[in-house]
């Protein structure tokens, strides 16, 4: 608005100039008052007499009269106008005009007086305009100087944010599981994407496809203003080339950036998780109120595992550097710097050695399963310290290389990881793999039976291999189709006789509390997440009448209704029952500790990145106190020992373990692949005063027991510092026994 006013004022000034200077039009006055009049009339040819007349009528009579009265010698007048007398106008009539003007005084004289005021008016207008300039200069340079100086200073300086490295993730003994290293990264401004020549050069230099380079630069994940990372870990040769030929790479820079390092490769990749560039910083900042971290686009945040769980602890605090820059944004000097602060380190409860043993066990177990012609599509091992709830090892297979996520995973690799034959390597089977727990729940079924009085510790059963307790048409096989014959409850657990538990389930179903079995399962934590400190843990499933009705909405009422056979099925951990390896390890840790269930956790300590001192401890809490008759628990403990001591050749697995080991196997019918059941084993050691609970699992691993037991044994061997079992030898031995049909069974 101000400026529009200025324009209007300027136009007004011009008009004022005209008004001041331009000849006034006075009222008509009598003619013939000036000598010069004749000149005008004479100059204008008769053809233009119309103008002459008008001209004469508009003569400034007043001024003319005044001029005429001026006492001026005619000689001086003539002399005063040499310009006219000497001028030879090439314009027709001009010479004449000059001569006449020279010859006749008055015209020039009139001009002089006339002109003086015009010149003065012009000078006044110019002075006024220049005065405006001075006033404006006064205002800008003397009054508003501070604000402009601040703007000039703001021009000069830039605040550069320094990325902070994330905290390290250590194992319980301080071994680095996830560290940081600096990487030479090639970064570019977003505008570079438009420069095909530069993109082509980068593509040639890095050996990256042209479109990939372009896409990396255009990627909006790092925000509109920040520079885009084209590639981390640029080869030294390429770094040198870019630095030396910077003129060929406008807008491209080599920057040292912190990236995650994984000294143990793929080890524990699922539980550690990975980071990626923050995409939704708004919600991140909303949730990071407590930590006081302000995220900016381009920050890397944990998206899975410990990296995500303890994001606020691991995330560092950005530093700020004030630098001097020129108009091109080139840094000319550093003014001040607040250094970046590395995020706090996290010490996990994980034992690197146990983790190694667990991962080796899975791979050995899967190899052994494959040797027996089973599919063995994956596996998991969870080892807990049941006294504290510390997770000592948590492994899942297949795995992935977290290094692939450092620079944002390529879409090729991503689809590779999602492919069906890759068997979901990103899935942490330990907490997200949900499978029928099968015979591993038999001790809990036993406890339900004992607690509800449908059986006693001395109950005996008769197994013919074919059970018709719910009628001939609902007959069910024991896993040992030839039958166990007369069998006690404890041997029912030890030999995993299905018929024993069919009977208990039937009795429970027809008792006062038809869902008492589910209640017992839930009491030990099945059907709900254990609360381990990892994001997105699955809760498994304990089916009941309500669930079945709601789940099978597409079925008729008869099919949706809970049947006694359903209770019978879940009594042996089949049917629609699901559990994760972590859940089973948790359940057994409670059974082992006489009902005291410690919350599984991975965080041992938070260490200050400055001093290395512990600034916070992991929560060691009792998750549940399951109240069970101690005598019943003792009975189950004994049965778990019996599993290993009674069975044919089972004790060979734990020959290398110096303490008494108890446990339970499981063979889960896989709904998607009947020929390749899942294999479970949960081991507890030492049985006298349980400390370790190890749950091993092989997906589609075939017969439960043999291989998974070896896996538990290998992990326990690490804890007791003894030698790992010889899978091949055991395999051969068990292979022979399998042929004779004397397996451990379901």
């Amino acid at each position: 608005m101000l400026r529009v006013c200025i324009i209007v004022l300027l136009i007004a000034a011009i008009v004022a100039l005209v008004v001041l200077i331009a000849r006034r039009v006075p009222p008509s006055t009598p003619q013939g008052m000036r000598v010069g009049d004749g000149l005008h009339v004479g100059r204008h040819a008769p053809a233009r007499s119309r103008y002459s007349v008008r001209l004469d009528s508009t003569l400034p009579g007043r001024r003319g009269a005044r001029l005429a009265s001026l006492p001026r010698p005619s000689g001086q007048s003539v002399g005063a106008d040499p310009s006219l007398s000497h001028t030879r106008f090439s314009i027709p009539g001009a010479r004449r005009l000059g001569r006449r003007a020279g010859g006749e005084a008055g015209g020039a004289g009139t001009g002089e007086v006339d002109m003086r005021s015009r010149v003065l008016a012009f000078g006044a207008v110019v002075s006024a305009l220049f005065g405006t300039l001075l006033a404006r200069l006064w205002g800008m340079q003397l009054i508003s100087n501070d604000s402009y100086e601040a703007q000039a200073e703001a021009n000069l300086t830039r605040e550069v944010s320094i990325k902070a490295p994330r905290g390290q993730i250590l194992d319980r003994n301080g071994e680095v599981l996830v560290g940081n290293r600096s990487s030479m990264a090639l970064v570019a401004e977003s505008s570079v994407a438009e420069d095909t020549r530069v993109v082509r050069r980068i593509s040639n230099l890095l050996g990256m496809p042209y479109v990939a380079v372009r896409r990396a630069i255009q990627s909006s994940s790092e925000g509109a203003q920040s520079k885009r990372t084209i590639m981390f870990d640029v080869p030294e040769r390429a770094v040198a080339y870019v630095v030396e030929h910077s003129e060929q790479f406008p807008g491209v820079e080599v920057e040292s950036q912190w990236v995650r390092s994984y000294p143990n490769g793929t080890l524990a990749c699922h539980l550690l998780g990975y980071t990626s560039e923050a995409s939704d910083i708004a919600s991140l900042n909303e949730n990071s109120d407590q930590s006081g971290i302000t995220y900016v686009l381009g920050d890397r945040v944990g998206v899975s595992g410990i990296e995500a769980q303890y994001e606020s602890i691991l995330q560092g605090v950005r530093g700020t550097r004030i630098v001097h820059v020129d108009a091109n944004g080139d840094v000319t000097g550093i003014v001040s710097e607040i250094p970046a602060e590395r995020g706090s380190d996290i010490r996990l409860t994980i034992d690197l050695g146990a983790q190694r043993a667990a991962e080796h066990a899975i791979q050995s177990g899967m190899a052994a399963s494959e040797a027996l012609k089973y599919a063995a599509t994956g596996g998991a091992v969870v080892a807990l310290d049941c006294r504290t709830g510390e997770v000592l090892a948590m492994a899942s297979y297949p795995n992935y290389n977290p290094t692939a996520f450092i620079n944002g995973i390529s879409s090729d690799l991503w689809s590779q990881l999602q492919a069906e034959d890759a068997h979901t390597p990103l899935l942490n089977r330990a907490i997200n793999g949900q499978y029928p727990p099968a015979s591993t729940v038999k001790p809990i079924t036993t406890l339900a039976g004992l607690e509800h009085g449908v059986c006693t510790t001395s109950s005996t059963y008769n197994c013919t291999g074919w059970w018709t307790g719910l009628g001939e048409e609902y007959g069910k096989w024991c896993w040992l189709t030839t039958g166990h014959g007369n069998i006690t409850l404890s041997y029912g657990i030890a030999l995993s006789c299905d018929v024993v538990f069919y009977e208990i389930a039937k009795a429970l179903y027809y008792s006062d509390e038809p869902e008492s079995l589910q209640e017992m399962f839930r009491r030990w934590g099945l059907g709900s997440a254990t609360g381990v400190d990892l994001p997105g843990e699955s809760s498994g499933r304990v089916p009941d009448a309500q669930w079945k009705w709601n789940w099978f909405t597409w079925s008729d009422d008869q099919s949706r209704a809970w049947q006694p056979g359903d209770t019978v099925n879940i009594a042996i951990g089949q049917g629609d029952m699901l559990a994760t390896p972590m859940q089973l390890a948790y359940v057994y840790s409670g059974i082992a500790r006489n009902g005291t269930q410690m919350r599984p956790h991975l965080l041992k300590e938070v260490l200050s990145s400055q001093t290395g001192e512990a600034i916070a401890q992991g929560r060691q809490e009792v998750a549940a106190n399951v109240t069970i008759d101690q005598a019943n628990l003792d009975f189950v403990h004994a049965a778990m020992e019996l599993v290993l001591s009674s069975s044919v050749g089972m004790n060979v697995y734990f020959d290398n373990i110096p303490v008494t080991v108890g446990g339970k196997s499981g063979t889960a019918e896989a709904s998607d692949d009947a020929a390749n059941p899942h294999a479970w084993f949960v081991a507890v050691a030492p049985m006298e005063d349980p400390q370790y609970v190890v749950c091993s699992f092989v997906e589609h691993g075939g017969g439960g027991g043999d291989i998974t037991t070896s896996m538990c044994s290998e992990v326990l061997a690490y804890f007791y510092g003894t030698e790992a079992p010889d899978y091949i030898a055991i395999n051969q031995q068990r292979g022979v026994e399998q042929n004779t049909g004397a397996g451990v069974g379901a």
């Binding site: 400026r3 331009a22 002399g79 005063a80 000497h86």
Partner: protein, 393 residues
Amino acid sequence: MANEATSHLKARRGRLAKLLGGIDLPLLLVTLALVGYGLVVVYSASLSISEASLPRQAVGVLIGLVLLALVARFDYRRLADKAKVLFVIDCILMVLPIIPGLSYESHGITGWIKVPFINLTLQTAELAKPITVLMMAALASRYEGRVTSLRAYLRLCGVLLVPFLLILLQPDLGTGLVILVAGAVVIIMAGPKRSWVLATIAIIVALVAAVLVSDSIVDSLVGDEHSLIKDYQMNRLLVFVNPTADTSGSGYNLQQALIAVGSGGSFGKGIGGATQASLGFLPEAHTDFVFALLSEEFGFVGSSLLVALFLALILLTLRVANRCEGLFGKLVCLGIAATWAFQIFENIGMCLSLMPITGIPLPFISYGSSSMVAQLMCVGIVQSVETHRVKAG
């Protein structure tokens, strides 16, 4: 008659003496001060801007001073005869840059011609300023301070339109406006009827408004390339109306200039200490925005000194006009004063956000030999008017 002859004789006899004594010494001193000031500024600009070369500018000053001396000796009244010839030559020169091969483009303006065989480029529009003033003064002085015929008034306006339109072809609106304003001042000083001038202004305002309004329509019909008002000119105008609208785009130059001037403070940041100019924030710091550079380096003291020197130059020129007896001489001085006044006010005004941005150099200060030579020749013409007047006594 005898008196007349005596004074002529006197004038001829005293010519040599007049050469030294006849010139307007204050005007010469002010000119030299401005030229010296300009050289200091160009020197400081050359510290950080590779395009600015002090020796090149000094050569321009030397050529200009020699021409000043020659022109001052030359009887300006004989220029009145030659005005028409010069005017025609100048008009041809202004057409030349449009012919391919002779042109040399800079900043989108093809206003330079390359003189064949020697490495010299000449900005023809610079010469057009004094020549148009001479032409208009020669024509207007025929009417003895009273343009009483509308046909005569229209004829004056028509003649003025010729160089203006030719310069618009280059296209150099800035120089065109200088010529238009200087010519207009000469016409107004020649004494036309007030109503005619007011009507003319009204027509111009209406025309400009119409062109501005219809610009977007014209753009869409023939494309910005061929339309009368280029996008950058439109942007400059919009930025002038609202300078903080887009500081990184069209408004960037103006914003940086304002910061440069304002941050200069009372005494400035000293030679080489101007961060806005030396670190490249201020564009065209040695040419169009040289005043911002000067203000940043020398502060209010330096910038107001410059404005004072300019005012002195114009007022001294007006004094010469007043002392001169002939109408032609007066009009020449007024016209030249008007070219200076407009260029100075427009150039400084745009640095202070008082005027829209146009590419007009600041007389005597901006880097560029063509402008320097032309400005010094203008001083020479004014001195010629002074030396060739008949001094009383």
